[in-house]
Symmetry: C2
């Protein structure tokens, strides 16, 4: 992704950071319940991956998420109960390292809206395309977990392509 | 979304265009079959919206997609059978007008990979977050259509939030 910048006599192209964005609505009156699914080990294991270690309920904590093919370590860098959760990726695939993952919650009528962003990808490569679709699938699993009590975390997640 | 540009003595902030990216893998040996689902009225009506008018198999054609809440008119601006389809949004919600939608197909083993992009959003607003998740849902419907013969187009699509 490039922007053409006009600076006096010169046109410059600069590489831009890229972001994954999503929005889901969880049918519940309790933002606390959605927040718990994003900050407790049991909650996270119920929608993202069964193989989750650590608690996300305190700034500075590290959570380990493991999947068949590898995993991610996330450091909790910001929390505002029950409206905001921000992680920084401290270990994982090269493309994920240093990126940030943000969940913003806001009640809206019958729903708690979750605005999700995975920020600061260096390159919008094919792996980023894959992760964007896969995040949608897992966020739908979060919605399902809170609404029905049962999500589809890895290894029960819906497969989207040959990378899983 | 902003980038800080260092130009001599001055730091400038510029607003950047934002993109929605996705990747799915359709389990088929026939890229032609996926291409048909992106260029024929019947194909498009089978995964995106039942209420589709027009054929997408010639550059310059306009396709009308209608949903409960409104719709989009797309002009076909580039075609390479069976590997590339590009549309420009010529009518629809303000945020969509002038954006481009691109499907790149490439066979990979048992799959035909679809690299999807919805390019050049002016602002990464809440509606863009919604559309990103919704595109993932509809691309999974495209995958299902080709693999099983039956997709989940509007009005049978999976609902993600209070905007549908």
């Amino acid at each position: 992704m490039y922007a053409k910048i006009v600076t006096g006599k010169f046109d410059k192209k600069i590489a831009l950071m890229a972001n994954i964005l999503h929005r889901i609505g969880v049918k519940t009156s309790s933002a606390e319940q959605v927040y718990a699914a994003l900050t407790s080990r049991n909650g996270l294991a119920g929608w993202w991956t069964n193989n989750t270690t650590g608690e996300g309920n305190a700034v500075g904590n590290t959570i380990q998420f493991r999947f068949g093919a590898g995993g991610f370590d996330m450091k909790v860098i910001e929390l505002q109960a029950p409206v905001l959760v921000v992680w920084e990726v401290v270990d994982g695939p090269e493309e994920w390292q240093g990126t940030k993952i943000r969940f913003e919650l806001k009640p809206d009528g019958e729903y708690v809206i979750v605005l999700f962003s995975h920020l600061n990808w260096q390159t919008p490569n094919e792996f980023m395309h894959h992760c964007s679709t896969k995040w949608a699938i897992f966020l739908m699993s979060l919605k399902q977990l809170v609404e029905t009590g049962e999500g589809n975390p890895d290894p029960y997640d819906i497969k989207i392509d040959n990378w899983n």
